[in-house]
């Protein structure tokens, strides 16, 4: 990466959008306040002035309407990238995502493709309260027909979004509100990252830690702390839940024999359970200790910032879990 730069997660996403829109005139953006205002998180900044109102479309507040329209547009030759301002709002439009986008190809016997990306952002940490802080990725991952991406770094965000746009099928692309300002290395050269390929964010021999999105950063902090004690944690960033790179996880488990799974979604029936179940299904004899999950508590997200911290997984919780795992 000769032309390496530090840019923010939101800038990286913005670049991916810009590059893809320049590459393919069929790509359109839809969403609320994404036009001249550039989106409430400024992710679509500048795109309206470059691509115009025809391709960067400010929609009425009607997520069912414009996700549905996105589905129809995708079936007929466009590649809509839809911004749902907060992942919590996907719930007003879940029919169009789950009953329509995810199923139309199948139900039509393969006649139709739905090249559609739904960009949204989730997670807590800003005191936005229970209706603006959820981590709902598990819901989407459970629905056949949807691919689910949740990047943790600017580099990953850019490369994965570019792939998502070219995927030819519905992709739920989940950003994290607390990552938008995080900076990271992103080369000037164009690149893509395939979906379904995890990334080892830190090598380690003692425990395999599986995570994604913001929790990768927390996990790396925890790994750093424990490293000072001589505990070496291998941090695997799944990056996508569907497709799932289980092979990489299993390979690591075969070295470490211990697993910690970290996610910000609430614990019960969360995606960590699937990872846990799969590992024990495929590497039962490799496990020297129970797989430990670190997740949000099974409650709505409280508003008070201290309570929110208490409810969401923190670095210290991850540290404790790792200790527990290697006991």
């Amino acid at each position: 990466m000769s032309t390496d730069r530090l840019i923010s997660y939101s800038e990286a996403i913005n670049e991916a959008l810009q590059e893809e829109m320049r590459r393919d005139a069929d790509i359109v953006l839809m969403g609320e306040d994404i036009g001249s205002y550039g989106g409430v998180f400024k992710v679509t900044k500048g795109l309206y002035s470059e691509f115009g109102a025809e391709r960067v479309i400010d929609t009425p507040i009607s997520e069912t309407g414009f996700i549905g329209a996105g589905v129809g547009a995708a079936m007929t030759g466009l590649i809509p990238i839809i911004e749902i301002m907060w992942i919590d709002f996907t719930l007003v439009a879940l029919d169009q995502i789950v009953n329509q986008a995810a199923k139309l190809k199948y139900m039509s016997g393969g006649q139709t493709s739905i090249p559609l990306v739904i960009r949204t952002q989730g997670g807590g940490g800003r005191g936005n309260g229970a209706q603006h802080s959820q981590s709902l990725e598990t819901i989407f991952a459970h629905i056949p027909g949807l691919k689910v991406v949740a990047p943790s770094t600017p580099y990953d965000a850019k490369g994965l979004l570019k792939t998502a746009v070219r995927e030819g099928s519905p992709v739920i692309f989940i950003e994290h509100k607390m990552l938008y300002n995080q900076k990271g290395h992103v080369p000037l050269e164009s690149y893509t990252i395939p979906l379904g390929q995890s990334d080892v964010k830190r090598r380690g021999k003692d425990v395999t830690l599986v995570s994604l999105s913001r929790m990768v950063l927390f996990s790396l902090e925890a790994a750093e702390l424990l490293s000072q004690e001589g505990i070496e944690v291998e941090v695997i960033d799944l990056r996508t839940l569907v497709p799932l790179d289980l092979a990489a996880v299993i390979q690591s488990v075969k070295q470490t024999h211990r697993v910690v799974i970290v996610h910000e979604a609430t614990g019960a029936y969360g995606w960590g359970a699937e990872i846990s179940a799969r590992i024990q299904e495929e590497a039962f004899d490799e496990l020297d200790a129970p797989i430990v999950r670190v997740t949000a508590e099974d409650t709505p997200v409280p508003y008070n910032l201290n309570l929110e911290k208490e409810m969401l997984p923190q670095v210290k919780d991850i540290v404790n879990a790792i200790r527990k795992s290697i006991q």
Binding site: V28, E54, R55, I57, T59, P60, S62, T64, G65, F66, I67, G68, A69, G70, V71, G72, A73, A74, M75, T76, G77, L78, P80, D95, Q96, N99, Q100, L104, K105, Y106, M107, S108, G109, G110, Q111, T112, P144, G145, K147, S169
Partner: protein
């Protein structure tokens, strides 16, 4: 009445179709009717899964619109949508095959009666979720407008569907973006077993189209001529960049909501009253009264189509089942 709403009245004196149109109309009406009758037979014979939602009584809506849709136009419809599919040019054999879940079906047997789709015919798909096809049709119109394609989206739905949020959002989007969409609301007075008058206060559902400032018209949905006339105008407006039109076609389904429906919610007398006005009888009488076509020609068409449908059905019965591995294809 809002300036966005009007009642269509056919000018009987000036109305005129050449023989070709008359024949086309009669063929379409019969094609749908015969197909629907045969479908009931199929369902009774236990050859279908799921439920069967018959279109009998409403044929003039699909047929009238079918006469004005071009092959490149897009269409979405509902679980009650084989009639519209036929009107858009669907092959009865492939429809029957789909209904029986066969590999030759439009969706290779994976969609079923509620999910008929044909990309080559512009049929984006029937939908099992009330109202859900509306925004999808709007999206197709969006593509058409952006790509300057002159393809119109026609979306069929029922009276009850107008109570869904998706209806509201879809119509507003089409209005705001001035998209080439024709909304065809088939008001058959019932939403499943519930009279529509118990589910909304509007005298005319067209009021609801007008509320988005979409030109909205009330039409006799049992008169194929009337549907054709308003449909033609709506398609022309859409194609000329004039934006959406809302059509409320007043009609009636003469059979239950689905096969097995006890129809306890309506009087037989009501059904009988509507049977007098049913689209095929109505059009046939017209043909005879105005000497448009002789009785023999009309009957010959019916007969011919009956045979065609019968053959298609028999063929479909023998069509092969899809391979079991097909469950894994077309997921992404």
């Amino acid at each position: 009445m809002s300036k966005y709403m009007n009642k269509h009245l056919l000018d009987e004196a000036s109305w005129k179709w050449d023989e070709k149109l008359v024949l086309q109309a009669w063929r379409l009406l019969n094609l749908i009717r015969e197909f629907e009758e045969k479908s009931i037979e199929m369902y009774k014979a236990g050859l279908m899964g799921g439920s069967l939602h018959s279109y009998i009584g409403q044929e003039a809506v699909a047929a009238g619109m079918g006469m004005v849709m071009e092959p490149q136009d897009y269409m979405t419809m509902t679980y009650r949508g084989r009639g519209q599919a036929l009107a858009k040019g669907a092959d009865p054999y492939r429809l029957f095959a789909e209904m029986m879940g066969r590999a030759d079906g439009y969706c290779q047997g994976k969609g079923g009666p509620m999910h008929i789709a044909s990309s080559e015919l512009g049929i984006l798909g029937a939908n099992g979720i009330v109202g859900a096809g509306i925004p999808i049709a709007v999206g197709a119109a969006f593509t058409s407008k952006l790509k300057k394609q002159q393809r119109v989206s026609v979306t069929f739905f029922g009276d009850g569907a107008t109570n869904q949020g998706a209806f509201h959002e879809g119509l507003n989007l089409a209005a705001v973006f001035k998209l080439p969409v024709v909304f065809v609301c088939e008001n058959n007075l019932y939403s499943e077993m519930t009279p529509i008058k118990d589910s909304l206060l509007n005298e005319h559902i067209a009021e609801r189209g007008a509320a988005y400032r979409i030109p909205s018209v009330i039409v006799d949905g049992n008169d194929i001529r009337a549907v054709h006339e308003v449909g033609q105008e709506a398609m022309a407006r859409a194609r000329a960049g004039g934006g959406p039109t809302f059509i409320e076609a007043k009609t009636y389904r003469l059979v239950g909501h689905m096969f097995g429906d006890s129809e306890s919610y309506r009087e037989r007398a009501e059904v009988e009253r509507w049977r007098q006005k049913e689209p095929l009888i109505q059009f046939k009488e017209l043909c005879l009264n105005l000497n448009l076509l002789p009785e023999e020609t009309l009957s010959a068409v019916t007969e011919e189509i009956r045979n065609q449908i019968g053959d298609a059905y028999e063929l479909a019965r023998k069509a092969s089942e899809p391979e079991l591995e097909e469950i894994f294809t077309h997921v992404y």
